[in-house]
């Protein structure tokens, strides 16, 4: 556990939550220099082990915030309602929303009103996606999965899905974006496809990808 006053990554680097990459890089360099273990600022303020923890936290903050994908995921997990300092500008939202809990990001499954043993099939995935405020377009853009396939997945329209080998990759990507258990998603969803296939000998999973 860090002995620092608990700060989010932005506060740790002392940047605005809207800061651009370049600002974040500069801020990281500035903090590294400032809290240099051999410098005067830290002398008499931090113990060596505390300083090492601070350095690790700064590094983690930098690594997360300069990677657009990691940063989006971090923002969504730590500030599900938007960053508090951004929300302050919007009085209506600020008045309505309680302060987010910094340490405990909301679980997307419970946030969608589902339980841990809900089967991850189309409708459940749609609920989780909507509770996470993600649009199909956004997911299509980030994963490069076609809109058609995404719609088929959510509608459990198994006959139009691409081949199993592609589906495995798509479902893994989807699990990452939705922040759900990837193993469970694969098992549940592909299990659903198998159930559907075995229900009638006429049904086939088209081996030719529809992409």
């Amino acid at each position: 556990m860090s002995r620092d006053v608990q700060l989010d990554y932005y506060a740790l680097l002392e940047v605005d939550p809207g800061a651009a990459d370049e600002e974040i890089r500069r801020a990281y360099k500035r903090q590294l220099k400032r809290f240099d273990p051999s410098g005067v600022v830290v002398y008499g303020l931090y113990r060596k082990d505390e300083l090492a923890a601070l350095m690790r936290n700064l590094k983690a903050a930098h690594e997360t915030l300069v990677d657009p994908e990691k940063r989006r995921r971090y923002d969504r997990s730590v500030f599900p309602e938007g960053h508090p300092s951004l929300r302050r500008a919007d009085q209506r939202v600020a008045a309505a929303a309680p302060m987010p809990r910094l340490a405990a990001p909301a679980d997307p499954v419970t946030a969608a009103g589902l339980t841990a043993d809900t089967l991850f099939r189309g409708p459940a995935l749609q609920k989780i996606r909507e509770a996470s405020h993600l649009s199909l377009e956004e997911i299509a853009e980030r994963t490069k999965i076609s809109m058609f396939t995404l719609r088929c997945i959510e509608a459990d329209q198994f006959s139009d899905l691409p081949a199993r080998v592609y589906m495995r990759g798509f479902l893994k990507q989807l699990a990452e974006i939705l922040r759900v258990d990837g193993e469970k998603l694969l098992l549940d969803y592909l299990g659903g496809v198998d159930d559907w296939l075995s229900a009638s000998p006429q049904r086939k999973w088209d081996p030719i990808p529809k992409e």
Partner: protein, 351 residues
């Protein structure tokens, strides 16, 4: 030029113990009915006299840090500058170990004879400086560093004098009198220098003031916090915010009060004798470090350049604000003065 006054003429003071106990009850009630959190300083156990009726008089206290960082020099010259801005200023020398404000102002030291050392010291002495709206209040002779009675007497005398601004040099020791007076002032200033020993001493004083603020006294939050810390055998609670978290389960009111006391603590810091740009950046670095490490928000008053005007004016026993008004040092004091004159004297506005 010399304006003597007897200590007895200062208003008499009542012990503050009983009054403080009542305040602490208020504090608990206030948090219970959700009507907000008191940010009053904690009980000071009647250790020092302090006038509640300050009126609009701004009180600035210099304390802590390492000897030689420039605390006394800056206090004396800040007083000179503020008096030149038209303020009526009283300076009080409450530094028992380094009673030297007079030296920086060109006043003569008070030299005792062997015989006078055997007699009672007598009342504090007040000197007016020629051509300035500035008076210096000091003990009648050098005192024993543990002579808190004489320090209290000087403080009482200084407070009884008519003034717009009261500037105290409390010295560098972190004794109860110094810590409490530092916190009762509207602005408590700690002078750092960009070298390890001075940084350690500066942080050390702020830490001591913070701990006293959180843990000293007979009111409930302090008692509860002390009990929680005493039970913490492994010493895991190494930051004030961890103390607040530890309290928040079983003692939510105490946690809230402790948190409010951390938030309302607002030490001002100056980094003196900066020779490089990196030295000047120590000011913001220290503010950032204090916030991270203890959750304390410190006010960065100024990074002041190292300047030959300091030793030059000191050698001549003249104020550098008068001898070297264009120096970097004088400009630093002007920045400090401007910031401090914006300080509110209303306690309920302190943040």
């Amino acid at each position: 030029m010399v304006e003597g006054k007897k200590a007895g003429e200062g208003p008499r003071l009542e012990a503050r113990g009983a009054e403080e106990a009542e305040e602490s009850v208020d504090l608990e009630e206030a948090s219970e009915d959700g009507s907000g959190v008191h940010v009053d300083p904690p009980s000071l156990a009647g250790a020092i006299p302090w006038h509640e009726e300050h009126g609009d008089r701004l009180c600035i206290a210099f304390a802590g840090g390492k000897g030689g960082a420039g605390r006394t020099l800056l206090a004396a010259n800040l007083a000179v500058f503020m008096s030149r801005l038209g303020r009526e200023v009283v300076l009080a020398d409450l530094d028992p170990a380094g009673m030297n404000l007079h030296t920086y102002l060109g006043l003569d030291p008070l030299l005792p004879t062997p015989g006078s050392m055997l007699r009672p010291a007598g009342p504090p002495r007040v000197d007016k400086l020629a051509g300035l709206n500035l008076r210096l209040c000091r003990p009648p002779r050098s005192i024993d560093p543990s002579d808190h009675e004489m320090r209290a007497e000087v403080l009482t005398m200084a407070q009884s004098l008519e003034a717009d601004v009261l500037i105290l040099d409390l010295g560098l020791s972190a004794d109860a009198f110094t810590l409490d007076t530092f916190q009762m002032a509207h602005a408590g200033v700690v002078v750092f220098a960009p070298e390890p020993a001075a940084m350690e001493r500066g942080y050390g004083f702020i830490r001591a003031a913070l701990f006293r603020r959180l843990l000293h006294g007979d009111d409930d939050p302090a008692v509860v916090a002390r009990a929680v810390l005493a039970a913490d055998h492994v010493g895991e609670l190494s930051t004030p915010s961890q103390l607040v978290s530890a309290l928040s389960g079983a003692h939510p009111h105490a946690a809230e009060a402790v948190r409010a006391r951390i938030l309302s603590f607002f030490p001002r810091i100056v980094v003196n004798m900066c020779r490089t740009r990196a030295d000047a950046e120590v000011l913001e670095g220290a503010v950032s470090g204090l916030r991270r490490r203890w959750g304390v928000s410190a006010d960065p008053l100024a990074a002041i350049d190292y300047d030959d005007a300091a030793w030059n004016s000191t050698r001549q026993r003249r104020s550098f604000m008068i001898e070297f008004p264009g120096s970097n040092l004088a400009q630093g004091i002007e920045r400090v003065a401007r910031r401090l004159l914006l300080t509110s004297t209303r306690r309920d506005l302190r943040t």
